[in-house]
Amino acid sequence: MSSRRIVVERGTYHDSVTLMLASRDAEETEGIVFAAAASATPVNLELLTGRGFELPADLVPDDLLIAIEGVNDAALDRAAAAIEALLSARPRPAGDTAQAAPRSLRSAAGRDPDLNLAFVSVPGRYAAYEVAGALEAGLNVFCFSDGVSLEAEVVLKRRAAAAGLLLMGPDCGTAIVSGVGLGFANVVRRGPVGIVGASGTGTQEICCLLDAAGVGISHAIGVGGRDLSGPVGGLMTLAGIQLLADDPATEIICVVSKPPDPSVTERVLSALTAAAKPAVVALLGADDLGDERMVATLEAAAAKAAELAGGLVAFHEPTVEVPTPGAVAGLFAGGTLCAEAGAIVAASGFDARFVDFGDDEMTAGRAHPMIDPSLRNDAVARAALAREIGVIVLDVVLGHGAHPDPASELARVIRDALEQRDGDLTIIVTVCGTAGDPQGLSSQIHALEAAGALVTRSAASAGRLAVDAGGGG
């Protein structure tokens, strides 16, 4: 005893070839003895009535009939699904090569359902709309652009969280996701430490220190500097922790941020507890560390994460032979590196004049100093002219996205500055990079050392050297 089913779709037109293909697909389904997707023309009605199907009386030729006969209801369901799949398929035009490039992220996502991440680096005033469109299209977003209002960030991150998507940024400088560096990212080995970072260069330095210690990174998720503020509430930090908690490759979770809103700190700590993986929380510059998982510097974060992974952060730290007392100028491309070194210098009572050339106000309408260091390099030359300055502290950040050879131009500036000052100026450079970085770590370090700079590998180390060079605290 077989089952029969009739489905009527009123006023639905498909060309006859498509209907034949759909009928054939359905008839090839297991347990089906007859299947037809056909217009309700008199001929078809007669055919179907002849096969014992009971048809509604009010059919017109523009109606689509799906008639299926099979061994049981499950077989009918499968055949109906096969027909529906073929009729609803919207194939893309063949020969895509001739197709013009998509004009929006939404359009790109519509063309290729496999896309899962939008990289937004348009001028800041347009960024919110691009992010919104990408989220609407179901894409995770890495938003390098700044210039999105805090209010918009809150709305967009709520939307992302509700949709189960990650919105890295706005103003997100770095991420490493499944081995691919986004924005400014160093080439690091894969390994057990997963990072969620609200600080771009902070995350980069931890990655580099871990890499040097032989400890690899599973993923480094950027969230943008405002994520842990009260209004945003750590939405993406929490989402990132959840992703890493569920990620089998991640064994240790490291969160990096400026000290957040206290309510947000609580939520982050609970989320890490729930993740049930060893954790390090770097709250940079924090005075009060109420939890054993918490540290206050990048250097301590890297050391603790390395220790949890069974590694050790260690590198050669140069020594200051002749102090050059005076004010300490810090001229940085990386904001967090600037803050970490500057805090150490200021804490020792020096006249610390630290400037972050990567700050939003300095980058409006021009490239980031990691890409175009000319503005910062000019400032080095100017600082060297100021006799009251005894120490200049700088950073060089390597990796994808950064200038292809930042050391060579800077080395020239350093050499000129040191020659001009005749022994009463010390220049210290922290190099944030790995052996795998495209610029070549050792050649970059060598160029800077050859010019007379003291080169170190962490911002904290650079800060300590500056204190030494300035003649102690």
């Binding site: 009123r10 006023g11 639905t12 037109y13 060309d15 017109v60 523009d62 919207r90 194939p91 893309r92 063949a94 001739a98 013009a100 490039a101 998509p102 004009r103 929006s104 359009s107 790109a108 063309r111 496999d114 896309l115 899962n116 991440l117 939008a118 990289f119 937004v120 680096s121 348009v122 001028p123 005033r125 347009y126 919110a128 709309y129 691009e130 992010v131 919104a132 609407e136 390098f144 209002s149 209010e151 918009a152 709305v155 967009l156 709520r158 939307r159 509700a162 990650l166 996701v177 499944s178 081995g179 691919v180 560096g181 986004l182 924005g183 992703l243 890409i371 994808h400 996205g401 495209p438």
Partner: protein, 465 residues
């Protein structure tokens, strides 16, 4: 796929970053990003946090669900409550006599003569100039009209009902080519033809339609026609043939004088654009169904009055946003050139509003010369329209694009964002009343109408998490 299992990236902005991704052997699609239309930064930023997407889903779902059927023919004055003698509907956004272009003035004069409201053209002109007549856009009365689009009370109109949306749209019957009212002609030949259409053509067609088993399914007929080389704006040859074929058995059966039936069939057979008007009413019924969705940026009306090009959005109610009507870039009939052309005119852009006409150019290889020459240009035109539409039609397909659905639901945000204007096919009217069609081609709508509409939408939108 989760990004933790591999990233497939679309990149908009700095090329360096896309190159860096490629150097890491990541899959990257580069978006051809360009700055949006000037002055739109603030409104796009405000709309980024509005609930436009959900509103557009609702509006476009209503377009997808629309099922326009031809339910009959009626008399305009009976169907449009306030269409009294002395009131005239016209194409496009609101306009007064003093600003009207030649073809629209001519059509008003002709309609005044048809309604016996003036003794001669001079009398009609004087009365119009003196403010004796009242002018209302067709679109504000659930109606559309090609070219001048003038509708007066005695004219017969197609009645198209969209049952899923519970709405109705009307459109006049097509007069044919040459010297016709919609191009501003008003001599006795024109008036006599209009009277014949009321007295003979409409009753014959009404009787034939009544004999059909069910109301004529325009959605299905349009879907068929797209697969037969029509785009339903500048080419209606297949649709007209299908319409006549569908009605033919009934026409041979109805109880009307045989000579009337023969005249009606000859009239329809000799006019490739006879289907344009029911097709426009079908599109109007579809677009109106999507109107009035709060916050939606979907375009529900594009229409021109020969002076201005007007746009309305689903989320901005009854407001019109206008810019100057453009000059059509096209091919001219022998003896005419661009100097003869009137700026863009007519409600027929309702077809483009619903993803037909220029939007579906790829379906009509026979008329690709209007858009620049080759079938591949036509494919590229339709392909580009997907950049500015919210969805693809579930019902209308383009064979040459592997039966992809036509681009549906013009998203005003994306028009402004990408700078891509809807592709519009259209006829060209002579600037002087009464000469008629002098060519056909492609016209570019004014961007300012879209930027102003979007600005108004942003003003009325609230932030939606």
């Amino acid at each position: 796929m989760s990004i933790l299992d591999g990233v497939q990236v679309a990149s908009a902005g700095v090329e360096l970053f896309a190159s860096e991704l490629e150097s890491q052997e990541a899959a990257v699609t580069r978006v051809d990003w360009r700055p949006p239309a000037p002055g739109s930064e603030s409104c796009l930023a405000r709309l980024a946090v509005a609930g436009t997407a959900a509103a557009n889903d609702r509006a476009v779902a209503r377009m997808q669900e629309a099922h326009p059927r031809l339910t009959g023919i009626g008399v305009a004055g009976d169907l449009i409550a306030d269409l009294e003698p002395g009131t005239f509907l016209h194409a496009g956004p609101p306009i007064e006599w003093s600003d009207m272009a030649g073809p629209l003035r001519g059509a008003i004069i002709g309609a005044a003569l048809l309604e016996n409201l003036a003794t001669d053209p001079d009398d009609a002109t004087k009365k119009a100039a003196a403010g004796a007549f009242h002018f209302v856009p067709c679109h504000e009365r659930g109606t559309v009209g090609p070219m001048a689009g003038v509708v007066s009370p005695s004219m017969p109109v197609w009645i198209v009902d969209n049952e899923p949306g519970g709405n109705r749209a009307l459109c006049t019957l097509n007069e044919g080519l040459g010297k016709v009212l919609r191009y501003g002609a008003y001599d006795s030949e024109v008036i006599d033809r209009l009277r014949w259409m009321s007295a003979v053509l409409a009753p014959v067609l009404t009787s034939a339609l009544q004999l059909l088993d069910a109301p004529l399914d325009l959605r299905a007929m349009i879907a068929h026609s797209l697969q037969m080389g029509d785009e339903l704006h500048n080419r209606n040859r297949a649709a007209t043939s299908l319409l006549l074929r569908t009605l033919m058995p009934a026409l041979l059966t109805i109880d009307h004088p045989r000579s009337d039936v023969v005249d009606a069939v000859e009239f329809i057979s000799s006019n490739d654009h006879f289907f344009l008007n029911p097709g426009m009413a079908s599109a109007k019924a579809t677009a109106d169904a999507a109107a009035g969705v709060e916050g939606s940026s979907v375009v529900v009306c594009m229409a021109r009055n020969g002076t201005d090009f007007g746009v309305r959005l689903s989320g901005t109610g009854d407001r019109w946003f206008t810019g100057p009507a453009g000059i059509v870039d096209g091919l001219y009939l022998p003896g005419f050139g661009p100097e003869d052309a009137n700026p863009d005119i007519g409600d027929s852009t309702i077809t483009e509003t619903c993803g037909l006409g220029g939007m579906a150019m790829a379906a009509a290889p026979a008329i690709v010369r209007f858009v620049g020459g080759t079938p591949s240009d036509a494919l590229a035109t339709t392909d580009r329209m997907y950049e500015i539409t919210w969805a693809e039609s579930d019902h209308y397909q383009v064979p040459a694009l592997d039966f992809r659905g036509t681009p549906l639901g013009i998203d005003c945000r994306e028009v402004v964002h990408t700078g891509i204007l809807p592709a519009v096919n259209t006829g060209i009217a002579h600037k002087d009343p009464g000469i008629g069609q002098v060519g056909a081609g492609l016209v570019e709508p004014p961007m300012e109408a879209f930027t102003e509409a979007l600005d108004a939408l942003a003003d009325s939108s609230t932030q939606t998490p």
